[in-house]
Amino acid sequence: MTAEVESHTVAPAPGDTWTGKLRDRVVRELPPDKLLPDRQPSYVGSWIYVFGVLTIAALLVVVATGVVLTLEGPEWYHISDVGHFFNSLHFWSVQLFFIFMVVHLWGKFWMAAWRGRRAMTWITGVVSFIVSLATAFTGYLMQTNADSQWITFEAKDGLNAVGIGAWFNVTSLGQTMLLHVCTLPLVVGLIVVLHVLLVRKRGVVPPIDAFKNEPAAASDTAEVAS
């Protein structure tokens, strides 16, 4: 009798619960020193490697100023001086976000950064670019000025032509606004987190000629520190 009770109070082995399994998996895939490294290989010492994190910095300013705009509303940001200022901060940080992202993507393209099982890093980059375009597009639609009216009515015809006008109705300001301030930024944020975790998991890709003097097979698949 007592033995039976005891067997029920014994904690399950760590590998038996979903929390334990998940923890084991996360630690195995991304051990803390890979997740937050304090050293990088010497070839990372180039300005071109800074553009990913510049893009993140610009994105943070976009989100922070966007939050202020939603808290105060259009009567504030379309009329008051401080409102105009925050509207401008939001607009110009978006311009910087895209400029940095494109320089980042050129850099990764010319160094073929998808080598060595990094295809998913490239693909999450592509998706983040496309979703960012959609986010910027809905932003331009909700300016409620002559510009946004023009863009809306051009886009309406385009979207109807490809047959999705019924689901994505750009003439519905409500839908446009909700997409712009909620759904699309959430998706961008999520994909960026995934993108950066993948970079951490695989390590920064070695330059194409880093393994020139070694057997050919090493150059394409070599991973730093793993």
């Binding site: 050293r39 010497s42 180039s46 300005w47 494109v102 320089v103 002559a146 510009d147």
Partner: protein, 57 residues
């Protein structure tokens, strides 16, 4: 918005046209800025860096 800026944003853009190529001044400036940034990022020396006495540099 201040009158100057709102005038600029609510008017048709100025376009350059060279034969088949037509591009607004704004778009051209953005593309040139990205191009210059890209070149600078490749050629400007990167400050700092540690020397482990180990591999390479």
């Amino acid at each position: 918005m201040p009158p100057l800026i709102s005038a600029a944003l609510d008017n048709p853009a100025t376009y350059f046209s060279w034969g088949w190529l037509q591009i607004s001044v704004g778009n051209l400036i953005v593309i040139l800025v990205m191009f210059v940034l890209f070149i600078l990022a490749l050629v400007l020396p990167f400050p700092g860096g540690h020397d482990d006495g180990g591999d390479g540099s």
